[in-house]
């Protein structure tokens, strides 16, 4: 992956044939059944996310934020409604096709970092590239470049347990962007971090959106984290309460 490749998504916006919204959620419903009881987590939700936007998804616990993130990322399937990403209806994909679609289209960042403990930082970043036709040398080059973008080129050979929480999350960001996805989904990426590390992570996400045109959806409880985003999507009891457009607050870039 190179800066030129990352800019590809910014250029996609110029494609007159591309749908205006990268993500379109139409009447999505998700119900969990536990001990004979039905719990409606998402109740006919509609949402549109334009290309290159940085969205913060907020709401109280149990409002359906992570469920919506999982559904948009193809990690889960809705009980009703439809989700379109770049014009592709996710319900039409088989499990195998959905896995391939995830590898090609989405980059995930999790609260708990979710790095493979047996792999080094560079090997973790290389993981998504194992599903491509890139040679070993090319995979290494791409992974090194992604690590340098998050300021961790000198930590390539470290294992996750040898890194701080902030560094682990930056490795996870490098992993999320190494395959040049259209969409980056982040589930409380700063939830386990101190303020300084959180600012570094938010700075990186902001940069990915502004400079490289990546569309980002970030679940957060933290109003300060939400300030880094251009739009704040508010959920409550599985329903959309409104979208708040705002000017982004600059955050510190990683050192």
């Amino acid at each position: 992956m190179s800066a030129a490749a990352l800019n590809r998504d910014a250029n996609r916006d110029a494609d007159p044939g591309a749908p205006a919204a990268l993500v379109r959620v139409e009447g999505v419903r998700r119900v969990y059944r536990r001990a004979g009881e039905e719990l409606v987590v998402l109740d006919g939700l509609d949402l549109e996310m334009e290309r290159g936007g940085f969205f913060a998804l907020m709401g109280p616990s149990g409002s359906g934020k992570t469920t919506l993130l999982n559904l948009i990322g193809g990690l889960d399937r809705p009980d009703g409604g439809e989700i379109y990403v770049d014009g592709e209806a996710l319900s039409g994909l088989s499990d195998g096709e959905l896995a391939a679609w995830r590898a090609d289209t989405v980059g995930f960042i999790f609260q708990g970092f979710n790095l493979m403990p047996v792999l080094t930082a560079q090997q973790n970043v290389e993981l998504p590239l194992l599903l491509t036709n890139l040679s070993r040398r090319e995979r290494r080059e791409h992974a090194r470049h992604a690590l340098s973008l998050v300021g961790l080129a000198d930590r390539a050979k470290h294992r996750p347990r040898q890194l701080s929480g902030g560094q682990e999350q930056r490795v996870a960001i490098a992993r999320a962007l190494v395959s040049d996805p259209l969409l980056i989904l982040a589930d409380e990426p700063t939830g386990d971090l101190d303020r300084v590390s959180a600012d570094q992570v938010l700075g990186l996400l902001s940069r990915l959106s502004k400079e490289f045109g990546k569309t980002i959806l970030m679940v957060t409880h933290d109003p300060r984290a939400a300030e880094a985003a251009g739009s704040v999507v508010n959920l409550d009891k599985g329903r959309l309460r409104g979208i708040e457009r705002r000017a982004r607050t600059p955050v510190r870039e990683p050192g």
């Binding site: 999982n70 896995a99 679609w101 090609d104 999790f110 979710n114 493979m116 047996v118 992993r175």
Partner: protein, 389 residues
């Protein structure tokens, strides 16, 4: 397929992998070893002659027959030759130096047993001296004996009255061309034993344990067996005549159900290692639930995760199998020598046994890896990541 992940997972817990590998190696060694022991026990039966007959007491193998029976038996139609065979039961210096010794009709031994091929010394030397003996070449090597040596053997069943050991002159060494004739036996003159008993120089049971018969070409062994058994039907000592093959089978079954027991132990070992490996793999699968979730989220398909876990199990079992079979092959020769000392010839790890061990390793690997691999493949991503909502 991200094979590097497979190795990294195996090496993630090196102690556990090493211990599992050690258990697998020992188990597959034991399986190969026990299979070969059972094979060796049965090899004598399989290689035994169908046309050579054994006449023994109908009461028990441990009851001797009168030597006067020999001439009557030779009179039966179809019998070409006969040879007394009497167990001596002695040892060299210490009871742990155990090997078989038989008193035989020296002039008939090599005719009755053409499988005995002299490699040093000659038959006339053996026949010339009453105290002469033939010994297996491997036996000679073990104790450093050679032709011309005098060997002191302490009698077990037959003791010398003056308390001294029996002295045997080594007239020749031999190798056996068939597993049914032990390559570590000492054969000596029955006459030497008989005269020692008659003169009162030694004490022990009279008569001969069995008579070994060779038949004329084209003779039906069944008719001869019936005729000989009929000869002594009303005599003081009834006899039972069998083919050598049947005699060997009875001898093996006299060991109790040792082959069955050994087979059962092998089966038990296999079953135990199967459960242990299954447990290890289930544990590994549970520990990797989150990792599997990460891989799934990144776009790795179910079949890749299935392959990763079943591959890990296969690699572990195959490495254990290779190590176990390797040790079995490496110890084949020394163990063969050890078993020869107990009269069990034909021990050895052949290609069939090695292939059997490796095939079992693959089967155990597939079986133990299937359940965790299937579970990993069926796992929902959000469940694996612990992110239900």
């Amino acid at each position: 397929m991200p094979w590097s992940l497979l190795w990294r997972h195996l090496l993630a817990r090196p102690l556990r992998s090493l211990l599992t590998l050690g258990s697998l190696s020992i188990a597959f060694f034991l399986v190969c070893f026990l299979r070969s022991v059972v094979g060796a026990l049965e090899a004598g039966v399989e290689a035994a002659s169908q046309t050579r007959l054994i006449v023994q007491s109908a009461v028990s193998l441990f009851v001797n027959l009168p030597t006067s029976y020999q001439s009557k038996i030779e009179g039966a139609v179809g019998v070409a030759s006969s040879c007394k065979l009497q167990w001596f039961g002695g040892y060299y210096q210490d009871p742990s130096n155990f090997f078989a010794q038989f008193a035989v009709d020296a002039d008939r031994l090599l005719d009755i047993y053409p499988e005995i091929r002299l490699v040093d010394g000659d038959e006339p030397s053996f026949l010339r001296r009453r105290d002469a003996c033939l010994i297996g070449a491997d036996l000679a090597t073990s104790f450093g004996w050679s032709v011309g040596d005098s060997i002191p053997i302490i009698g077990g069943l037959y003791t010398r009255v003056d308390g001294t050991p029996w002295q045997f002159y080594v007239a020749g060494t031999y190798r056996s061309t068939s597993p049914n004739v032990d390559g570590r036996t000492l054969w000596f003159h029955y006459e030497y034993l008989e005269q020692s008993l008659e003169t009162g120089a030694a004490e022990g049971p009279q008569g001969a344990g069995v008579f070994v018969l060779s038949l004329d070409r084209g003779t039906d062994p069944t008719l001869v067996m019936g005729a000989i058994d009929g000869m002594f039907e009303n005599g003081p000592q009834r006899v039972q005549t069998t083919t050598e093959s049947e005699f060997q089978r009875q001898f093996v079954s006299m060991l109790g159900s040792v082959p069955t027991l050994l087979g059962s132990i092998g089966g038990g070992v296999l079953f135990a290692i199967l459960l242990a490996t299954l447990n290890t793999m289930l544990m590994a699968g549970r520990e990797r639930t989150r990792s599997m979730g990460i891989l799934k989220a990144l776009g790795f398909k179910d079949r890749i995760l299935f392959g990763l876990l079943i591959g890990e199990s296969l690699v572990l079992c195959l490495l254990g199998g290779l190590a176990g079979v390797g040790v079995a092959l490496a110890t084949s020769k020394p163990l063969a020598g050890f078993f020869d000392g107990f009269g069990i010839t034909g021990y050895g790890i052949d290609l069939g046994t090695a292939a059997f061990g490796l095939a079992l390793a693959i089967a155990v690997g597939l079986f133990a890896g299937f359940a965790p691999a299937w579970t990993a493949a069926r796992l929902r991503v959000v469940t694996a990541l612990g992110a239900e909502h």
